[in-house]
């Protein structure tokens, strides 16, 4: 583990017993877990290279309990790490040795489904797919669909602003949330938004909370938009002799004014791994495979399918196959959806990156990765959300051969390249601990300080999920100081008032 976490507080560690019993007084029975063997399951999230047992695990069931736990921890300077389902790929839910791990899995109820207002009110522990399941009997669904949707919680989705295949057309989590209830580190219960739009008409707290990686508040209730499912959906598999042609095809589809329901691309190693694993019917003799899904009324889908087929041919596609049934459409997706585990079969370990780039930079970035493969002597399989330029290069390595650090360095180089071409470090998986120390690649010191000032407004003591997202923790008192003083000529051209 190459990332340093904040030094655990000796004072907190030494008071462990007292803390556990205080928490037991708030959350009775099995809601407080302190036995090492029972805490094991919580020691890491989806970023399994990083592990740490927490001080204690608390599984509250009511907002009141959450509020009391936080108030107690705030008063006693105990860090708190919120956790949903623990599928984060960036270590956002990695426990702290001196921290309470606050697990929201018991908040698992769908509270209200309101079809006329097209929204659902759920507790944060409800899974992403659980929302769709609660509304699909009336033909509705919840659009953002991370591949982990069977397992991941909506609370985690809010924290990570998760995306999925459908986000190209229907937006990310942040575009599909209407309201939240959350508890601040001080234990205050805050409600924002509801069944109406634009939350509260003031500062966009909903926008700030979404994607804040559990650093600003603990989410205890979520109101999301639900949509009527499209009448039909069909997918086309398009194979290309080069990835450049695949990339050009993507650009051409969008230039034609078509925003598909999903547009995913895989490179040769990923195609082969997926095909070997699930027999999706993918062509093996292509360098790039595009899956384009068109959804909507039948008339629209038919119209656009023929447009996409034409564009594909114009861009050098060597194979195009349109799904002829729901089963076939599902099969096309099965390979893509199983891409991670499929790669897991061909390599002892893989490290999943998540940079986003301007689409047109794809050839340059792919070429760059080829160079890096040589430099590091490791291979990459590529899966990406082609429509929005979000790459998931999977760096293949073997931890038993001591390749982890090399893989991480490789990954960091990929992300640096993403930033260099105008992109970003993470498109949907979050910064967490994993990309924390790369933040200065993208942001200046001043940029980061302004972000941390948001933190100071919410959690001035830095007790909620510390050690995540920010490479360096500045005390809020220090951040609060103003460096423009009367009489001091900070700027020579200062306009005189």
């Amino acid at each position: 583990m190459s990332i340093a976490m904040p030094k655990p507080s000796a004072a907190v560690l030494s008071r462990r017993e007292e803390i556990v019993s205080a928490l037991r007084a708030i959350v009775p029975g099995e809601g407080v877990v302190d036995a090492t063997n029972e805490m094991r399951v919580f020691e890491s999230d989806g970023l399994t290279a990083y592990r740490q047992l927490p001080l204690v695990v608390v599984l509250p069931q009511t907002v009141k309990q959450v509020s009391k736990v936080l108030k107690y921890c705030h008063a006693n300077d105990i860090p708190v790490v919120p956790r949903g389902a623990g599928t984060s790929l960036s270590g956002g839910a990695l426990p702290l040795e001196d921290g309470v791990l606050l697990v929201l899995s018991k908040f698992n109820k769908v509270l209200d489904v309101d079809f006329d207002n097209r929204c659902a009110v759920v507790q944060p522990g409800v899974t992403n797919l659980g929302i769709t399941k609660a509304v699909d009997h009336r033909g509705f669904y919840y659009a953002p669909d991370p591949s982990s949707q069977i397992a991941c919680s909506i609370g985690g989705n809010i924290a990570e602003n998760s995306g999925g295949v459908h986000c190209l057309k229907y937006g990310l989590t942040t575009n599909n949330v209407l309201g939240l209830e959350f508890v601040t580190m001080e234990g205050e219960i805050v409600r924002i938004g509801g069944k109406h739009l634009d939350a509260d008409g003031g500062y966009d707290m909903l926008g700030l909370m979404t994607g804040s990686e559990g650093l600003l508040g603990v989410v205890t209730e979520v109101t999301v938009r639900i949509l009527q499912a499209p009448e039909t959906a069909r997918a086309v598999l398009i194979g290309f002799p080069t990835s450049e042609q695949g990339g050009e095809c993507v650009a051409a589809i969008i230039a034609r004014g078509i925003i598909p329901g999903g547009m995913e691309m895989m490179d040769r190693p990923a195609i082969h791994a997926a095909e070997d694993f699930v027999l999706a019917g993918y062509p093996r003799d292509v360098e790039a495979l595009l899956i384009v899904e068109l959804d909507g009324p039948k008339a629209e889908v038919d119209h656009l399918l023929s447009a996409v087929e034409t564009i594909a041919r114009e861009n050098g596609a060597t194979t195009t196959r349109v799904s002829q049934s729901e089963e076939e459409r599902a099969a096309f997706w099965a390979g893509r959806k199983a891409a991670f585990p499929a790669v897991g079969r061909i390599s002892p370990d893989y490290y999943c990156m998540d940079g986003t780039i301007p689409r047109k930079e794809l050839p340059r970035v792919l070429a760059g990765m080829k160079e890096m493969e040589k430099k590091y002597g490791l291979k990459v399989a590529n899966v990406f959300h082609a429509g929005d330029g979000n790459l998931h290069p999977l760096v293949l390595y073997d931890a038993n051969k001591g390749e982890l650090e090399k893989a991480e360095e490789f990954g960091n180089d990929i992300l640096r390249l993403c930033v260099e071409v105008g992109g970003v470090l993470t498109g949907e998986h979050g910064v967490g601990v994993e990309k924390r120390d790369l933040m200065p690649e993208m942001f200046s010191e001043t940029d980061l300080k302004h972000q941390q000032r948001v933190k100071c407004a919410f959690d001035a003591k830095h007790l909620l999920n510390p050690g995540k997202v920010f490479p360096q923790l500045h005390r809020c008192a220090e951040l609060g100081r103003m460096h423009v003083h009367k009489g001091e000529v900070a700027f020579p051209d200062l306009p005189r008032f």
């Binding site: 207002n117 929005d388 330029g389 970003v424 993470t426 000032r453």
Partner: protein, 418 residues
């Protein structure tokens, strides 16, 4: 950059801010704010001042305008992205997009007509700062949903950026959203990067005539609950229907559902939705330009663009509660109302000339919550009223602390948001 004592900023309101700063670069913008901080001079922050009628009047010692920070710095239609300096006229951006058959998907309202000004004034920075939206809000979101990144100078006189130029980005807090909709009270944007989208090929509006507000609400819920993918749902009761499209609709209530997209798709959806709606009332259609004219008028609140200063509220509630709010308020005050966003956006004009903030907000909380913003009233009324929805103490505390973090000296639009 000049401190021009003679030039009166267009539409500056409240205590007249006599000194005008019009920086032409980001560094100069930073210097103005640094000067304001060190000399403790509060600034009225604006673009062209076209939306000075929004928010509470600002008591400022000088005006900081972004109108000379202009120019589109990046437009890549095939990447669906555009960056522009904050003072770039929105009209220029819209024209540029139009040429490439693209548009701002959030369909920002033009407050000009409602405030007795021309259409087409205003800057991209202002549009983002006020988080504007239009009828398409219910499907595609507001300005905040389309902002990918900003560069700005905070009230600490420091230049910072947030976000980037790509759609999928979770690197750090989404500070761009915090800045969007903050009415220039946290930071002054110098440049914004937004997502743009293709214009729709075809557009048709289904109009149900003669429905009362409650029946209209039910019909809109039915339409929105179908797979028709409506991109607009508005209801204009009797008096207001006559005020759009230069009176072409007559005085009969009009409940409108907009469908847009590819030709064959719009046709198929219109046909299907027609069969769903026809038993609810008499059905008419507006095609192409007629449809666009209708929605332009709904977007810009033309039914209340009467040249008067009678208070107008913009109220956001759960869509099916809109009509109940209006019914409840009518028992206590003379109001005129029409609905957008399936009933979730209620436009209210207070006929007596009184803002009646307490009454309106009590009504909102009675029907289950939402928020009411006073978007037109005289300076005196806005100075005496909570223009934005007052918040519960916990949320108000967070907002106050956020303001203190970004603008500790209180130099950016003090008092604008309350």
């Amino acid at each position: 950059m000049s401190a021009n004592a003679a030039a009166k900023p267009a539409g500056a309101s409240g205590a007249e801010a006599s000194r005008l700063f019009e920086p032409t670069s980001e560094d100069a913008l930073r210097d103005v704010i640094a000067g304001a901080v060190s000399e403790e001079v509060p600034l009225l922050v604006e673009g062209t001042g076209s939306k000075s009628g929004l928010g509470r009047p600002v008591q400022a010692g000088a005006t900081l305008s972004t109108r000379k920070l202009t120019g589109v710095t990046l437009y890549e239609p095939e990447e669906l992205v555009l960056s522009a300096r904050a003072g770039t006229p929105i009209a220029e951006i819209e024209a540029m997009l139009d040429e490439k058959h693209q548009r701002l998907e959030f369909e920002p309202i033009d407050y000009g007509p409602l405030h007795g000004r021309e259409r087409g004034l205003g800057t991209i920075g202002g549009v983002v700062a006020c988080n504007l939206a239009g009828p398409r809000r219910l499907k595609q979101g507001a300005a905040r949903d389309h902002v990918l990144g900003v560069r700005a100078v905070s009230g600490r006189a420091e230049i910072f950026k947030s976000g980037g130029r790509v759609v999928k980005n979770v690197t750090g807090y989404d500070l761009s959203k915090g800045i969007a909709g903050s009415f220039g009270t946290l930071a002054v944007m110098s440049e914004v990067t937004i997502k743009v989208l293709p214009k729709s090929e075809a557009e048709t509006t289904l109009l149900l005539r003669g429905l009362d507000d409650e029946a209209a609400s039910a019909a809109m819920a039915l339409a929105l609950g179908s797979p028709a993918e409506a991109s607009g749902a508005a209801h204009l009761p009797m008096l207001t229907a006559a005020r759009v499209m230069d009176g072409a609709l007559g005085n009969e209530p009009a409940t409108a559902i907009r469908l847009d997209g590819f030709g064959p798709s719009v046709e198929a959806r219109a046909k299907h939705l027609g069969t769903v709606l026809e038993e609810r009332g008499r059905l008419e259609h507006l095609h192409g330009e007629e449809s666009r004219a209708f929605w332009r008028d709904v977007k810009d609140a033309i039914p209340f663009a009467d040249g008067s200063e009678r208070p107008v509220w913009r109220v956001s509630v759960a869509p099916t509660s809109g009509h109940a709010l209006v019914m409840g308020l009518r028992r206590h005050a003379a109001i005129d109302a029409f609905y957008d966003w399936q009933g979730g956006l209620v436009w209210l004009r207070m006929e007596s000339g009184e803002a009646e903030a307490d009454l309106v907000r009590a009504g909102v909380s009675r029907i289950g919550g939402g928020h009411a913003t006073l978007v037109r009233a005289t300076d005196q009324v806005r100075a005496a009223t909570e223009v934005f929805q007052p918040h519960a103490p916990a949320l108000a505390g967070l907002s106050r602390r956020l303001k203190e973090q970004f603008d500790p000296a209180g130099v950016l639009n003090p008092g604008k948001m309350g």
